[in-house]
Subunit: 349 residues, 2 copies
DNA sequence: TCTCTAAATGTTAGCGTTGTCATATAAAAA
DNA sequence: TTTTTATATGACAACGCTAACATTTAGAGA
């Protein structure tokens, strides 16, 4: 006969344990079964008040933190949302991701985000890496994806929102606005202000399809009015103030001159403003300047900057709303939400 | 006698499956055991070339993506790194997190980041939420934490780096620079330029302890030189261009006037530059202006901005390096890494 | 040739939770 | 009172992987 009680026997195989309190520990202390603890945590109404109190005390006393890995494995789904943006350092995406993370955070979801660096190949890899976490939803940026993205996403079978663009064929849902239309509104504004010789300046247009669509929109509307763009410059690096200065210098030297510039980004426009100041070129008298983004400085620089205001936070909020509705089974719609993009006319035009 | 072969029997209890291929599926197809697949994925050198090839083919054929939840549960640790910053929309933290995520990404770690919004209570909650994922490491910002942070972090037993500051008592490791010293260097610079009536302007100094330390550093060094700060302004909102303009207007009205302003942030300084332009106040002739951050525009605005250049990316890189070394068991040191903060003197002073 | 050692591979059990089914208890209906 | 129904709780297996231990195989040395 064994003299050692069963419960004191060492397990056959030594095993690592995180050392943290587990749900069973809580259950034992509260004198209930583990499943009751699990239920209390997921749906407090399903447990009677008396037990709930005891379990909560036990949780408090042990400092119990649920192991979401175990939960995710058991439920075959996790409370993780995967987000892939071109770059989290970009103020636009950072704003959307921040709003999105806040909305998901309120509901107990964690956001795994990663920057694809405008590299479609890399985006494929990142999406695949996210799927390894069995995410409850996926958020991508735009419609330009790597060659394997469609297959990977389809296999994942999770709700997907492609944000920041709506002019394309989404995998599932899309939240954003029409960049081509935004570009056209800038062109119409410049034409209405009497500008006839407009230059279009963008950065990384080969990779940034949205900036590219905005610039194309400007050019199309100009052409429709019989005033084709005088000059088109595509800067090879991500938008930065210095390049904006260099680019406007080049545009000002265009044969026949220019009387307006549409930039794909406020940052470039700011560089242009500084360069004009330096050269004594008057804005908007000599040249009108329009940007994109309505960044913090746009309203305060001299002259203040005419620009497009993208719905940065709304994109995040609406993306979260759509995905949560789908996750909760409240909606099966495959929606495309156009949040629009307002033109803010200021002194620079 | 059962006429249905064992393998075709329905399991006793119906159970959900993600539907995705599992490691066993791969193993079966490759004619090996599951552990061989696991080993190949984690340490390719431990599997012979012949088997490795077969397994890789099987993975390819099935489109197998490992379930990291299951792996994390089995190994009692995950390839997740938790990061808590005050705000991911802040360009400084975004740069560090981006670099950090890149370094960890190369090694197969995913980064869960969340914004605490300068709310210590909220930070506690976020840290606790991260721990539910059994992270391999934790990255926090600064030394000001919520009341429960110390206990939570201690219980987690994972390597921790507190980034962006070194002047404090870290839980484990710290990577950053001395903000007080940075502030003092600005004061010395202004004094060396002959400035005697310096105002100090910051934003949210009550919550942003690093900005607060920089401002304090400026004041301390001024006092040491017998030239106490003429004015100190603490703006109630996060740094933005508009508030910078308002604040310098107030400072310029100080009795006796001022001849320099040290801002806690380039964004505020930019607002001040615009406001001075508007008022015809000459920089640096009438008033010198210094910022912090060396943001993109600092080198290009008119006049270009004297500022401090924090090691944004290096903080991320070094944080990742330290944590990975600890995770890999290469180092048990509890290091505090001072990356310094360079003063960039430009036209505005 | 045989033993010894190292490298390669396999077997088993368990990580901590949740889905499914089972059961006890209380409230409502007959 | 008995039957029915709803509510609260529990037992158990399964999720897909990896740690620990076990075994086989190949190569070195005696």
């Amino acid at each position: 006969m064994a003299r050692i009680p069963q419960s004191d026997l060492k397990p056959v195989r030594a095993r690592r344990r995180a050392g943290r309190a587990t749900m069973s520990d809580v259950a034992r202390l509260a004198g209930v079964s583990a499943i009751t603890v699990s239920r209390l945590l997921r749906d407090p109404t399903s447990v009677s008040g008396e037990l709930a109190g005891r379990v909560r005390d036990a949780i408090e006393q042990l400092g119990y933190v649920p192991n979401l890995m175990a939960g995710g494995l058991a439920a075959a789904k996790s409370r993780i949302v995967g987000v892939v943006v071109p770059s989290i350092r970009n103020a636009f995406f950072a704003a959307s991701v921040d709003a999105l993370a806040a909305r998901f955070g309120e509901r107990g979801y964690a956001v795994l985000d990663s920057s694809a660096d405008y590299d479609l190949q890399r985006e494929d890899t990142l999406i695949e890496a996210m799927l390894a976490w069995n995410p409850a939803a996926l958020v991508l940026t735009g419609f330009a994806h790597g060659p394997r993205a469609a297959a990977i996403v389809a296999r994942a079978g999770v709700p997907v929102v492609e944000m920041w663009d709506i002019a394309g064929r989404p995998f599932d849902m899309a939240v954003g606005f029409d960049h081509n239309a935004a570009g056209r509104s800038v062109a119409r504004h410049l034409l209405a202000r009497g500008r006839r010789r407009v230059a279009v300046i963008g950065a990384m247009l080969g990779r940034d399809t949205r900036a590219s669509a905005r610039c194309a929109g400007v050019r199309e509307e100009l052409e429709r009015a019989g005033r084709a763009a005088v000059d088109s410059i595509d800067l090879p690096r991500a938008s930065n103030v210095g390049d904006g200065a260099v680019a406007i210098a080049e545009a000002l030297a265009a044969p026949g001159g220019i009387d307006a510039v549409a930039f794909s980004n406020d940052v470039l426009a700011l560089g242009a403003i500084f360069e004009c100041q330096k050269r004594g070129v008057r804005i908007p008298d000599d040249v009108a300047i329009a940007g994109f983004g309505d960044l913090d400085f746009a309203a305060h620089c001299r002259p203040s900057l005419t620009t497009l205001r993208p719905p940065r936070e709304q994109i995040g909020n609406e993306t979260a709303r759509l995905l949560l509705a789908r996750i909760d089974g409240l909606s099966a719609e495959r929606r495309v939400v156009d949040l629009g993009c307002e033109l803010i006319a200021r002194e620079s035009t």
